[in-house]
């Protein structure tokens, strides 16, 4: 393969395609959606609210009454009572509560006696800074009820979420901007890139290219058109929306993984449709099921649907981009994501190779 020839074709495509109104619209629409989401959903502030479940009977009741007094006006605290610790834990797991404080009967008596009994506090994965402040406050509250300091030995336990709520973690603005970026990539890989190739096939300019360059060089250049446009469109979306990306390396991996895993299928579509106008008309229909997984990532959905979403490049792309935009992983599983990208990428290009062989191109 000649890099010079690939570069020459790529340069031509980048200039030529952007002058095509269809391609331009395909790129602009999802970017505009990202900006729109960014405007509609304001920047999320740290939640000034916290929901605390106090578990237990008599002693728990006293703690539940005292806690709001100690918090005063600092935050909007909701205190619930729950007799069963398992139920309380589930509420925390499901993000219905931020914190559960387990107060066994007799705890206040032991504290008064100066035995500093252990106090179990369960903290949810999505707990806000306000809720974490409450965790710090609880031992003091018990100290005030018992006139002892320290009254208890706090045992803070982190609870894993059964279904992480990404929207809570990211905020709606960032969530929808990231989803719009997946849309940008999907549109470019499965609409813009195939339209570029389909137009070449339709107008038979590809015949002239194939006379001067190898088929592999032409297809590599076309795939790179998708990669370059996706990268630029993603950068533009991020610049316009000013969404912070905490871990750029991981985020870029998600962007590149998504485009590489989809662009092979995009090129297949070009050979199947062989008409830019047909692709522009019907490609959107094919695009929808490919994009849906990005929008159900992290949202409470049936398990089977979550598995399906995780098996798609847009699902894994969204997960990786979400993780890349936060200081710590919400989803993790980068290895699985890379494997999904690789499998889809390889299958896409194998199908493309098969289609080309069958057509004798």
């Amino acid at each position: 393969m000649s890099l010079a020839r690939i570069w020459a074709i790529l340069r031509k495509d980048l200039v030529d395609a952007i002058r095509d109104g269809r391609v331009l619209a395909i790129i602009i629409v999802p970017i505009a959606l990202g900006v729109l989401y960014s405007v509609i959903y304001p920047d999320e502030e740290p939640r000034p609210t916290a929901t605390v479940v106090v578990v237990g009977s008599a002693d728990a009741g006293r703690v539940a009454q005292q806690l709001p007094r100690d918090v005063r006006q600092a935050l909007d605290l909701t205190v619930k009572r729950q007799a069963d610790e398992r139920q309380a834990r589930k509420q925390v797991e499901d993000d219905d509560a931020d914190v559960a404080v387990v107060i066994p009967d007799g705890l206040l008596g032991e504290a008064r006696a100066g035995r500093a009994p252990p106090l179990r506090i369960l903290v949810g994965p999505q707990a806000s800074p306000a809720a974490r402040a409450v965790v710090e406050l609880v031992p003091g509250t018990i100290g005030r009820l018992t006139d002892r300091a320290p009254a208890v030995t706090a045992d803070v336990q982190a609870v894993q979420a059964t279904s992480p709520s990404v929207i809570d973690e990211l905020g709606l603005r960032r969530y929808f901007v990231l989803a719009a970026i997946v849309m940008v990539i999907g549109f470019i890989a499965l609409l813009a890139t195939p339209i570029v190739l389909a137009e070449e096939i339709e107008k038979r300019t590809i015949e002239a290219l194939l006379l001067a360059a190898r088929g592999s060089e032409v297809l590599t250049a076309k795939a790179l058109v998708g990669v370059v446009y996706s990268a630029v469109a993603t950068a533009i979306t991020l610049a316009l929306t000013r969404v912070p990306i905490e871990r750029p390396g991981l985020f870029v991996l998600g962007v590149l993984g998504t485009i590489v895993s989809l662009v092979g299928f995009g090129l297949v579509l070009a050979y199947l449709f062989r008409s830019a106008d047909k692709l522009n008309t019907w490609g959107w229909v094919l695009l929808m099921p490919i994009l849906v997984p990005a929008f159900i990532v992290g949202v409470p959905v049936p398990d089977w649907l979550d598995v399906v979403a995780q098996a798609t490049p847009t699902g894994q792309g969204m997960r990786t981009m979400v993780d890349g935009s936060l200081p710590a992983d919400v989803f993790g599983g980068l290895g699985v994501a890379l494997a999904v990208f690789a499998v889809w990428g390889v299958v896409g290009f194998l199908v493309l190779s098969r289609v080309l062989q069958r057509r004798g191109s």
Partner: protein, 319 residues
């Protein structure tokens, strides 16, 4: 007006050794359809060689094989001395093709179109402007191709076909859709190329063009070559009443001063007498020998005219 005729022997001065095209028992099958059935011919360096035939006769498939875009099902061929299958890249560097379709990048300028292919072939940058000048569209080089006329596009296609200074140039219906002046200019360039030693393989439906440009022509019908010779020999063969396969006597059309036209048989004594009488009386305005055209030859050999349409064109069948 005199029309320049191709020399009976193609010029070879300046042509590199081994240039030209050699085709040996070449065939191509698409599933059950045998598009080309074992054709053989050779084209000398500097020769203009015409491939003529109906839609579906096998012309486009033959050119696709010779330009390395479709592998043959059987037989072999060399272009510029290089096998089109085993040495495809070397062969392709020596050839170029002016497509039947005006497959240009319409949103790019003429210069950008040409510069792209210059880069792909590794041609010197100056070649782009040189060719734009040569084909007469230098003044429109910066304009987008979609603003070009059909003739300008065809000239740009020719320039693209010459960008790598090919030893062998394939021309697929190069004057289709052109006005007479543009067509004549293009033919003039073809003659110049031939004179400079470029081997040219031309497909056309235009029998007059083939007659005018080609040193030799091959008639393709149903994937086979049914005749191959110089246009003159083919016409003489059909016109010679004594020749095997001849279908018509030698005749002349005579226009008299009363605007009546008469056809006389040149080998009929009675018609000889009539013609002599008109000449003596000074009544003859024009006399045209009624020799067969290449189209007549083709009809005689293929059994139908080139204008007869097929339900499926070859181009469609091979796409």
């Amino acid at each position: 007006m005199s029309v320049p005729r191709p020399a009976e022997s193609p010029p070879t001065a300046g042509a590199p050794p081994g240039a030209g095209v050699v085709v040996d028992d070449l065939s191509k099958r698409y599933g059950d359809v045998e598009a080309v059935r074992g054709i053989s011919f050779s084209v000398q360096a500097g020769e203009v060689f015409g491939l003529l035939g109906h839609n579906g006769a096998g012309k486009t498939t033959t050119i696709r094989m010779l330009t390395g875009r479709t592998p043959p099902s059987g037989g072999s061929a060399t272009v510029g001395g290089h096998d089109i299958v085993r040495e495809r890249d070397r062969a392709r560097a020596l050839l170029n093709l002016v497509f039947e379709d005006q497959n240009l990048y319409e949103r790019l300028s003429g210069r950008d179109n040409l510069a792209l292919f210059g880069e792909l072939y590794g041609a010197p940058k100056a070649r782009t402007d040189e060719l734009l000048e040569r084909v007469g569209i230098a003044s429109a080089a910066k304009r987008k191709v979609k603003t070009y006329s059909t003739g300008m596009k065809q000239r740009l296609l020719l320039a693209r076909g010459l960008i790598n200074d090919p030893q062998v140039l394939f021309l697929d219906e190069p004057t289709r859709g052109l006005d007479p002046v543009s067509a004549r200019n293009l033919r003039e360039i073809v003659r110049e190329l031939s004179a400079a030693g470029t081997t040219i393989v031309l497909t056309t439906h235009d029998m007059v063009e083939a007659d005018e440009l080609c040193h030799r022509v091959a008639f393709l019908s149903e994937g086979r070559i049914v005749a191959l010779d110089t246009p003159r020999e083919l016409k003489l063969r059909l016109g010679d009443g004594d020749a095997p396969g001849a279908t018509r006597p030698r005749r002349a059309r005579v226009l008299l001063d009363d605007r009546t036209e008469h056809v006389v048989a040149l080998d009929d004594p009675q018609d000889d007498e009539r013609l002599s009488g008109w000449l003596r009386e000074g009544r003859v305005l024009t006399v045209h020998s009624d020799e067969p055209s290449l189209a007549d030859v083709f009809v005689a050999l293929a059994g139908r005219s080139l204008d007869a349409d097929d339900t499926t064109t070859e181009t469609e069948a091979t796409r």
